[in-house]
């Protein structure tokens, strides 16, 4: 990403001598530019800017769709602070993110190395990408069937091995790990491709030198690959962690937050507050908090992993 932006920049700079041709027209192409960005501007204002402001406003109100929102100040936020279901939702979500991102990232790095060194065909990359192109809903239903307690093939294999069957979606302790696993399966190929692109940007001569020095593959991996991959890895982590925090489809199709509260992730909780209980003010306050958390997570990750710097220069 960073390299791309750098390469592209020179073309964007105004070429010397060019402005003079337009003489006194210092506003440049403003008129025609306004025409070109007009549709996008409508979309931006109506569906991004206004809703963002309105969402923040609604978070300070009590609003049940019917009637008008009533201003109640910080009351939603103070209520959230002592709302057990909110803290439960946060705990469940964080547990999901940790499992999902942990496994997904490690597997994806492994797959990316394999794509880079061993299986170089586009065909294999394509096959591994397949689950990502299929809808969340479809993936969820497929695994809901395969992990079924009675008839699912996975439990069939488990009991064939002489182990007790597992209620993957039906037990409190398994629900979140199961949902996390399903999404690891869906995303691992995609994440691997992103990391693979990062691996390709590491110049070959670095490896040649390491090879000449007699560095072992393990040493090469930790001392060359990982440090040089860091900027890409940081970006991948920011994107996947933010996506992971917003898990919804899989939960909605399989457990709907249950059993009890075991898989009620934050977005599910927001959805139920808004559309189940028509409590739009409270739901908006919850999504403001989610928004702040995501911004903080992104900021900390970029800071911590120095995602916008490269060691290659």
């Amino acid at each position: 990403m960073t390299t791309l932006a750098k390469q592209a920049e020179p073309a964007a700079l105004p070429q010397p001598g060019k402005p003079a041709k337009f003489g006194i027209r210092r506003i440049g192409d403003l008129k025609i530019a306004l025409l070109f960005i007009f549709p996008a501007m409508i979309g931006f204002v109506l569906f991004f800017l206004v809703p963002t402001i309105r969402g923040i406003y609604l978070s300070f109100t009590e609003y049940s769709i019917l009637g008008d929102p009533t201003w109640i100040g910080l009351k939603n936020y103070t209520t959230i602070f002592s709302d057990d279901l909110f803290w439960n939702a946060m705990a469940v979500t964080v547990q999901y993110v940790a499992l999902n991102i942990g496994f997904q990232t490690v597997i994806a790095i492994g797959l990316a190395l394999l794509m880079h060194r061993v299986a170089k065909s586009t065909f294999i990359r394509g096959v591994l990408l397949l689950p990502f192109l299929v809808a969340n809903v479809i993936v969820a239903l497929l695994w809901f069937w395969m992990l079924d307690y009675q008839l699912g093939i996975v439990n069939e294999v488990i009991s064939w091995m002489g182990l007790p069957r597992i209620a993957f979606f039906g037990s409190e302790q398994w629900a979140i790990p199961t949902i996390a696993f399903v999404n690891v399966w869906r995303h691992m190929g995609y994440t691997a491709l992103l990391i693979f692109a990062g691996l390709q940007s590491i110049p070959n001569h670095v490896y040649e030198v390491a090879n000449l020095d007699g560095a072992s593959p393990t040493r090469t991996f930790w001392s060359i690959t990982m440090p040089l991959l860091r900027p890409v890895l940081a970006l991948v982590l920011v994107v996947t962690v933010i996506g992971s925090f917003q898990v919804f489809d899989t939960v909605a199709v399989t457990t709907q937050g249950g059993p009890v509260n075991a898989s009620r992730v934050i977005q599910m909780y927001i959805y139920q507050k808004a559309f189940g209980e028509s409590d739009f003010g409270y739901a908006s306050a919850l999504s403001v908090i989610l928004f702040i958390i995501l911004a903080l997570v992104a900021f900390i990750q970029m800071k911590f992993l120095k995602g916008n710097e490269t060691d290659l220069d």
Binding site: M1, A40, F47, I153, F245
Partner: protein, 319 residues
Amino acid sequence: MSTSTNSRHSRESATAVVGSPQSRRPRTKPFNWRRAGAWILVVTAVVVTVAPFLWMLRTALSSNHSLASNAGNLLPADFSWGAFQRVFGLQSPEQAIAEGGSGADINFWLYLRNSIIFATMTTAGQVFFSAMAAYAFSRLRWPGRNKVFAIFLATMMVPPIFTALPNFLMIKNLGLLNTFAGLALPFMFMTPFAIFFLRQFFLSMSREVEEAAMLDGAKHLRIFFQIVIPNAAAPLATLALLTFIGQWNEYFWPLLVGQDESVRVLTVGLGVFKSQSPQGAPDWSGLMAATLVAALPVLILFIAFGKKVVNSIGFSGIK
């Protein structure tokens, strides 16, 4: 720019493999355990990825009542086209119930049509309008250009759930709930990602032809339609493909504003289909047949243009 590098890389990878020192090494050794182990991992990953899809097909071709007694059998249990017939509404309700279906009408064809309308509308609008904006952000010079672009980009940070609630209220106030307009509007004008993606390409395109056209007195609209768009056909197609797949799979927004039968898309319909099962055992064969057919358009697109998608994912980076 990057696509060409990428595709060139994959085309030349055969020669590159022979030439690079890392890969020459194994050739000189008779048998490389490390390499064999690596290939076992690759094969495992491919099997883990593909097997569930085969299981989906196997279940869809089974008759629902036989699934219980043949749970561990790898071949379709009591082979039958019944599940697909149920999905396409070719069975009478009585027959469907007899075969384990719910007997309720699921209107698969209608959902399919709705998904096609929704995904096509949003993709066409989003790609076209984003291309226009990307042109203004890359090829035109105007005061405040970079600031406006930065603000556009910043909205990439806003989580969809955050704007979904107010957007729902707006669509509701406009009386557009359960209409295609309501479904499509928030996606139709732009996404920050699409503009960012296309801007990168437009920036890297040669300005020479364009400047020649400018001297000829060609107006910006003509340059855009006759020079920029044809020259950027490849990235536009890639973006359109990615957008279409994404929209085809969209669940949350259609769940909010498109609950009505007349505009219900496949993803939402599948969720309903699942919860419609009668007391006790769900119609697994029917459900798997439905998911398979719902995934089919994406699979076909992928088989046709897979290479483009695979190669585009590296540089598109953020999505």
